[in-house]
Amino acid sequence: MSIQIRTAAFDPYQEIQTYRNAKTGNTGALGATGIFIGTMRDFNEGAAVKGMTLEYYPGMTEKQLEKIVSEAQRQWQIIDSLLIHRVGDIFPNETIVLVAVWSSHRGDAFDASRYIMEALKSKAPFWKKELLGTGDERWVANNTNGYKSE
């Protein structure tokens, strides 16, 4: 299990491969991988967005992410997981968050990866400030519930 906060842009696919390639043993039990990648869009709530600054609470953010992943491990049969979240200045098409969960059976990988994302969106101390196309800045007010299609 790995939880990482990054200040620089990263390639999610490269990260997954590097992470898993470093692992040895027990790979024969891996039947399912569930992955979610959150990417910065160039629009939000009707406005063009040029960039974003992601603030966090060093110490508390890591602590909350660890609690979330532990809870997922408690609820589902997880072999391994990787969670990476960007902070600092981010631009459209860059990855904001990567969640990958490895399990034997697909139900666990699907459920746990989604749980981690939803819990992160409601519990982990991160705050987005958007730089709009107009030059104005605004704080993103609220995350939506991702269990409902928008």
Partner: protein, 77 residues
């Protein structure tokens, strides 16, 4: 007694500073900590509060040495 205060995101702008130190002699809840440290500003209704990096309610009673944080709803992911 003394506690450290931290403000994040829009609450940092409301408070006008990122951190703070408050000395006190009586019993204070988190909400009272805000009022003592920011007497001229009401606490926004959707504010989240943490003591020593764990979420707490507004009526949680702080103790000497605590780190008390105020921030808006989180918007990561």
């Amino acid at each position: 007694m003394s506690i450290n205060l931290r403000y994040f995101a829009s609450l940092k702008e409301v408070a006008g500073r990122p951190e703070d130190n408050l000395t006190y002699t009586d019993t204070l809840t988190v909400h009272e900590v805000w009022k003592r440290a920011n007497p001229d500003k009401s606490l926004p209704g959707n504010t989240l509060t943490a003591v020593n990096m764990e979420y707490v309610d507004f009526d949680f009673i702080v103790k000497d040495g605590d780190e008390v944080a105020f921030f808006p709803p989180v918007t990561g992911g």
